[in-house]
């Protein structure tokens, strides 16, 4: 065991540990959990030289104060843009840096977006259950003793010799907060009236305050069901299922969702856009746009390629800063480069 630890001196919001989650237990009623923005978690890990799915801290509309104990720690933070300070000095997101021994890192809640990820070089030493240490709060599994992180927790690092890896940077991940969320109609689109479908496709919804890792309840116009009503014999849900209960207000199911449900599901968010849903906070707008299965598969492959290519896009900080300066002079190209990464 590494003698180096990260101490949680304070934290707020929904703060928990996540890795790629548990696969294979949905037939037992246990959803996979895992990061709601897997691209951002991958970026945080890649910044510190870890495999993309390494256990990291997920901050959900929250922040905290974290202290290195027993030695310096290389950290990387990506996702919703947070203000970071180390002992009073501002530090950038989307860059790795060293948190010196006994120094405090303050993570302020993001100004926009909802989820940010903090990875440490070498990862945390937390024991897995059912193949993963990801927190599934409702099931009481993973994280520390099946719960979120709180003040006073101590996280052991799995390695103590990684603090002096080079500083690395990556272009910030776009949150695409204004873009429509792409989805496939179904599996139960036939349970809705024509007017109901038109409402779903045409209206602007907003994320309500009931938005968490289980699901995002939306506010907006009500979606009318068809003559069969709003009960179906319970069947399986998936990440991104958009179920419409009797209230007519849609709920987008997320990583800690119930595995089955008895409400018809009008549509399903494409896998590549799950992170864009996750990053919308209460009050943010959501519009939906239908795409074909072929298009959704293209998007899924692009996303997988992006995650696989993150390490290639890493830049040493000296080069990173030079490119940013050049980008400032060539605004169009810089914008293209950022779009490419979104």
């Amino acid at each position: 065991m590494s003698p180096v630890r990260l101490a949680i001196r304070d934290c707020s919001g929904a703060v928990g540990l996540q890795d790629t989650g548990r696969v294979g237990y949905q037939r037992q009623g246990l959803s996979a959990s895992g990061p709601v923005d897997s691209l951002a978690m991958a970026a945080a890990n890649v910044l510190v030289g870890n495999p993309a799915g390494t256990l990291a801290i997920e901050f959900g509309l929250g922040g905290g104060i974290l202290r290195a104990e027993g030695g310096p720690i290389r950290v990387g933070i990506a996702g919703a843009p947070c203000v970071l300070r180390v002992d009073g000095t501002n530090m950038p997101c989307h860059r790795s840096f060293v948190l010196p021994d006994s120094a405090d890192l303050t993570v302020a809640p993001p100004r926009e977006g909802m989820f940010a990820y903090l990875a440490v070089a070498g990862g945390f030493a937390v024991s897995a259950i059912l193949g993963s240490a990801a927190l599934h709060r409702r099931a009481g599994l993973g994280g520390l003793d099946g719960r979120a992180l709180r003040r006073g927790d101590i996280l052991d690092l799995a390695a103590s010799d990684r603090a002096w890896d080079p500083d690395r940077g990556i272009a910030p991940l776009s949150l695409d907060l204004a873009e429509p969320i792409r989805m496939l109609l179904g599996p139960q689109a036939d349970h809705f009236s024509e007017a109901g479908l038109a409402t779903f496709l045409g209206a602007a919804f907003s994320v309500s305050h009931r938005a968490d890792r289980m699901g995002y309840q939306l506010d907006g116009p009500t979606i009318a069901h068809g003559p069969q009503g709003y009960n179906i014999v319970s069947d399986a849900t998936v990440d991104g299922s958009i179920q419409v209960p009797g209230s007519g207000l849609p709920i987008i199911l997320m990583a800690d969702r119930q595995t089955t449900g008895g409400y018809p599901k009008i549509a399903t968010v494409v896998s590549a856009d799950l992170r864009r849903v996750a990053q919308r906070r209460p009050g943010d707008t959501i519009r939906f746009a239908a795409v074909s299965l072929d298009r959704a598969l293209e998007l899924a492959r692009e996303r997988a390629a992006r995650i696989a290519g993150l390490a290639r896009r890493l830049q040493d900080i000296a080069q990173f800063d030079a490119d940013r300066l050049a980008g400032a002079n060539l605004a169009g190209e810089a914008t293209d480069a950022l779009r490419d990464l979104s």
Binding site: V23, Q28, G140, V233, D235, G240, T260, S271, L297
Partner: protein, 241 residues
Amino acid sequence: MSPSPIRLLWCGDSALTVEFGDVIDAGANAQVLALDDRLRVAAMPVIVETVPTYRSLTIHLDPVRLNPNALEAAVRKLAENTIPERPPARIWRVPVVYGGEYGIDLVDVARHHGLAPETLVARHSAPEYRVVMIGFLPGYAYLDGLDPGLALSRRTSPRASTPAGTISIGGVQALIASIAAPSGWHLLGRTPVRSFMPGRDPVFLFQPGDGIRFEPTAPSCWDALDKAAAAGEPVAERVDA
């Protein structure tokens, strides 16, 4: 048994639901479990996991490897064969303390059906149920086989919390709950059995297709059974062997 026509419903780019019917039906569930078995044997790399429910099988997929037309063809082929009726591979005897603080709706449900509470207990514990779906929350076992004369639509106002191990009915469905959760079903009793218990081997006790027999148990037995279950004993007993 001849197979019913199936519907293939895409759930986004990462799952396909194979629907054998739109009502609760033992024949449809048998076909769900048969397709599930065949897909396990086929071991297609594109399949991440499968979720059997009352009347459909949802296949979770890796979209990066997915060829949708090839998958649909393979699934149709595997689903088209007739299936033999099978007895459950495993049958569990599950102790239940009925009524009182363990099943606060027992008396009301009995009164609704014009039955003595003891008669309701006898009729609820008479059948051998089948686990047709484990879902909603970890280890929640949904059962087919409820005496139709006991069916009762759900409460109009769900309860914010019901205890772990609750034995309940809702409509024609029967349920073994694992962990505490909100519920609109009628609570008839409680079992000390943990169908889901992190840290125990196995973490999950029941599988879709298992048989379940409820054994009415005296309240005086609760503490000892609950203690044994908390220590990791199954408390539910296999009676198929």
